[in-house]
Symmetry: D2
Subunit: 384 residues, 4 copies
């Protein structure tokens, strides 16, 4: 099947979080194929991870340098076309530069690099590389964010005056980085994370979302960053005041010490005619509130949404995002049953019989003047 993009992954081995998300996302629409990887700095772990992913042993590399070099020698139709970078931040630049050098496209997790000067180098080297570079700010992929962006671009809010964006989490409220929590440890280590802690991890998402959705550019900012948990070298909390190019003001609140908050990303945009309000915890809903008339609730796939949202959705209106995952759970479990046997949660013939018994008995009861009727008993043969 030649229509898929062949990609190699750097990082994303055992125990990683975001690498697995990238792979699922890549598979969902069948447009990508994982052909190789340097999944870990630990070569043994790298190979074990690759094997578990079905990557041929010959294309599980010890490090990204080897990966670039070997892949570049493969026939065009076989070699990877794109490198997906899911390492800690400090490796983003060297991996990307190596990819550029060998002519591979790059799709990188955020933030782009560990510092602005690194990023400028990235930009300069990209310029004449002839390849594409993408950055996975996932929140900009939500259908209702696309809807919001389209409506703002069409002027439905009038002139944008005020932007409130917040991203609060609670998972770093305690110093778990000292207890060996890997995700916390590298994010709070300047050598791996770069200059920003909370700002580099989630603040930059909030920033990107505000600019992406409104089409406005921040021109000035005033920041108030804190390391609330004693001993941290990087910020774990902060407020940044923003001035946009059109004169609008903004408030960006990002924090990882907000006990009890999950991934509370919310964007509110106020124009002089209307406002929009979106929260990641209920991503299928977008509130539109005008200066007159009742508030409107726009929903993914619902009436009144436009082609931008439609292009970004996979199931008809009313099925929440997550429906696919629920479905996939049944596939996973049935696949396990087929390959390994055992007990399963997937509904089987007993459920099938009961379901049909329900439908028929309901029809019969209704036809018989709502009579109470028993469901036929002992429906299933002995072994389901």
């Amino acid at each position: 099947m030649t229509h898929r993009v062949r990609y190699g992954m750097v990082g994303g081995g055992e125990g990683a979080f975001i690498g697995a998300v990238h792979r699922m996302a890549a598979r969902l629409d069948d447009g990508w194929e994982l052909v190789c990887g340097a999944f870990s700095a630990d070569a043994i772990k790298a190979r074990r991870s690759g094997a578990a992913l079905g990557v041929p042993a010959g294309r599980c590399y010890d490090n990204f340098t080897a990966m670039m070099a070997h892949e570049a020698l493969l026939p065009t139709a076989q070699r990877m076309q794109c490198v997906v970078i899911v390492t800690p931040n400090h490796l983003h630049l060297p991996v990307a530069l190596a990819a550029f050098q060998h002519g591979f496209h790059v799709l990188s997790d955020k933030p782009a690099t560990a510092s602005l000067s690194e990023c400028r180098e990235l930009a300069a080297r990209l310029r004449h590389s002839g390849v594409h570079y993408g950055l996975t700010h996932a929140y900009s992929g939500y259908p209702m964010i696309r809807e919001a962006r389209a409506r703002i671009a069409r002027g439905e809010l009038g002139a944008v005056r005020k932007i409130l964006v917040e991203y609060t989490q609670g998972w770093l409220a305690l110093p778990i980085e000292r207890d060996g929590q890997k995700q916390a440890a590298w994010r709070l280590d300047p050598a791996q994370a770069g200059v920003g802690g909370c700002m580099g991890d989630i603040g930059v998402h909030a920033f990107q979302l505000a600019e992406f959705t409104t089409g406005l550019a921040v021109q000035e900012l005033s920041a108030h960053l804190h390391s609330v948990v004693p001993g941290r070298k990087l910020d774990d909390d902060g407020t940044v005041l923003l001035r946009f190019g059109n004169g609008a003001s903004g408030v960006l609140v990002a924090s990882q010490i907000c006990v009890g908050d999950e991934n509370n990303l919310r964007l509110r945009v106020y124009g002089d005619q209307a406002s929009l309000d979106w929260q990641q915890m209920e991503p299928n809903s977008l509130w539109l509130r005008g200066i007159d008339g009742p508030a409107q609730l726009l929903r993914t796939g619902g009436a009144g949404t436009g082609p931008e949202a439609a292009a970004a959705q996979r199931v008809p209106g009313g099925h929440p995002e997550g429906y696919i995952e629920a479905f996939a759970n049944l596939y996973r479990e049935f696949g396990q049953l087929l390959q390994h046997g055992g007990v399963t949660s997937v509904p089987g013939i007993e459920t099938a019989l009961r379901g049909m018994a329900f439908v028929e008995t309901a029809v019969a009861s209704s036809a018989a003047g709502n009579q109470w009727l028993p469901l036929p008993a002992c429906l299933a043969p002995a072994s389901d």
Copy 2:
């Protein structure tokens, strides 16, 4: 990659809804591989659909009979292992029987068949077939439904007394089946749908969810079905009163004429000690309300949830289901860029630069006493 289940699909060609959902679900965890299909009753459409899905022409069959016959002749390591049935209801039985006959496993969309007698035949034939049969009641795959089931099984609700389950939609409020809406047309045609209209389409989901989650079996029912839109031969609305084996009572409301409702599936289970409340429109939330103490909100991946929910989730707590789809949108768009070029919504180097500029300027401003600082201008080289 020999670890995937090889499957063939019957139905699910161009314009179909649920077939595409099945394929995405099958891909998500990389455990399944689509190797063949009879995607449509229209042979030309079937081939075109297969080609678009990357299925080799030689394994795009004109009909399911041909598919079964040919696949059975292929070497074991190549031939399909499982048939996925996503046709209108009246074909569920013949396809499944053909699969059983050739020794293929079956994963079928619901309802199992067009009638209970068909389903009994299915069960009888399955019994000695040596294959597995699964039915995709997708809602039972949600993590919080697994959590609910586990808690009820552990007795956290005490004795279950009352079950309220409702599934209301509005899409059939008008007679759209007469205007060529394909999804509506077959669902309201007894020849294709079977005896149940709304009950067979969504009522059976509500029924299965109630039984699956509580572990209780309905023993008797009294039904009140209606064809609200004049001229319909099947029910489009109804209420079914339920009596469960343990003496609990239930009310099942299913309707497709509830204007404005999307897929309002909700399950409430009341025990003598506590109750649970779940809604598909916010599938990551499960309310637990006890006889004492405040209500608790259980969340997918959140504190207090158990291994059953954890086994069914893919992203850490706080990321909503749907996060993967948002991510996948970026993959889709970047893939299109790589293969076809053009303009993209995927964040690129400009975003990368602005993001790093944001983080660094925020750190600098904060360090300088919250001074207002400009973001460096003209960040990106001429071509992004």
Copy 3:
């Protein structure tokens, strides 16, 4: 002040719930004045209750018979005009009849009487009495219910097809009536409550709300009532299927054994053009969902609501119902301070100073380039 309606209360003494609500409601708009009462069947308690309410001793009666007789002899300008009945159900009829006999208007808590035959007697006697009779189905007083009624009357929903009304509570999930809980005890005693338990207590509210809001009359019903807690003589749970005069169907669910539910009263009305959805737990919100376009959220006092809702609200849009109570708490506490001294939660001069310091310092800081400025310390003189 001659503009108030003078009323006497029967029931509502110490420990009663609904009597106190009636009195607060009567006071809110200053249109009523409590001039006398027979507050309890226990004469000592009746007098003590009256004294606490500021009713002159001479008009605190031992029983309603005495009250009627004595009040009728007072000069017109003094005597009560209306009897408010807040007793257990079985006394509603005799009190009302006595009132009719003496020419007093009646405002009665629901249900009207303990049985339909009693109610017929009530109606017959009312007919030629020349007085007015009112029944406090409080839920019909909410602004958004008025809004809903007006919209349905105007035909905005098209033909009403389906009505779902539910009222579930959990407070009777355990047999608390055996532990001396007074509110539970009389409601579950046929001698005091009449034929209906849950149905008479809250089911009748749901019924009234459905008829009041839609303007439709139930013509037939099929009921499924249960006494879930063993030993109860009256229903504590039930489902009633309804057929309305225009052919619409309805489902009424009422229960008092739904553990964890507070006063979950919800009404959904589906027409062929649009639907309405209202919940008492958030009484200021009313959802309007059309066959096209996004859902609209109508809010008390908000844009798009009409004169019917406006006539029933007291505070401008955006202040929730409950705002008055919050305000009243300060009045209550400040009044206690004035009369009894002590410590208070009412903000005082310290708060006054801090508030002004906040405003001025904010203005000064902003004017000085967002400089951090201290709030003036030691603001208040020694004794607040």
Copy 4:
């Protein structure tokens, strides 16, 4: 009835908003009695307003000076005890000082005065006056705010680290003050409002709520105020960064140009052990989220709430605030019927009959095997 506090009101005449709220709050618990007033700067309007309120003509004064002077001469048992000030801000000081001078208590609407120096004068004069002074920050009267304060005081949140408080409204998004909207006009006029616009009107509420609930004092602030609508002399929008005494940081966002927002007052307090989240638009709910375990939803009157909340509520758990107002609507309408006749929305005998018919028919249907039974027709005698 000697138990009520006798008060006089300054301001609050025809067309005023907050004066009417004060009066309703004063009446709710029957602890206050309006005995006199200077309701408007316009003497004719003042008298007309007083008459409408049932205040005797002899105690409707032309101005507050006259009111103080005359009331002071009345016998102790008759004269007012407390002055309630509900004028524009610039009159708060002179009225309060006059009250102090004559020995009257003062209950004042916020903000205390038009400037901090005025407020200092107020404090100094109060000090030796021997009277009480109260300030109606109504939001501190909500039961769930009392609950939050009690829990924070008990240390349930651990050390407070971060406070987010926001109060956004949209009603000043357009320059309505130029179109004669009275409420807008004085609030944006420095001569009447003082130095703060949005900050003095609602920012000070947010500030007070944060300090009141947490028991912490702001020590420093950095403010960013804006006049978004061109031509305004006072701020209509702003963000104020806060530093509390214990080292916690805070962000206060207040705005009146947030199109579509009603009275969006929200307070979030994050400790190192747990957090609290409260919103005025749903004042009966308070979220408590710990570092472990599921989030808990505390509700007014619900399980798990303490005596502080209980002391501030009037109806049992489950009845929303607003229930009293709904009730009061029926009283208002029935009172109008009694005094003026006409058509009413108050349920009457027809409703009474239908309600009892419902209960009895439900019981009968259930007893008869859920048979469909008609409701008795033509229930009411000819005239209701």
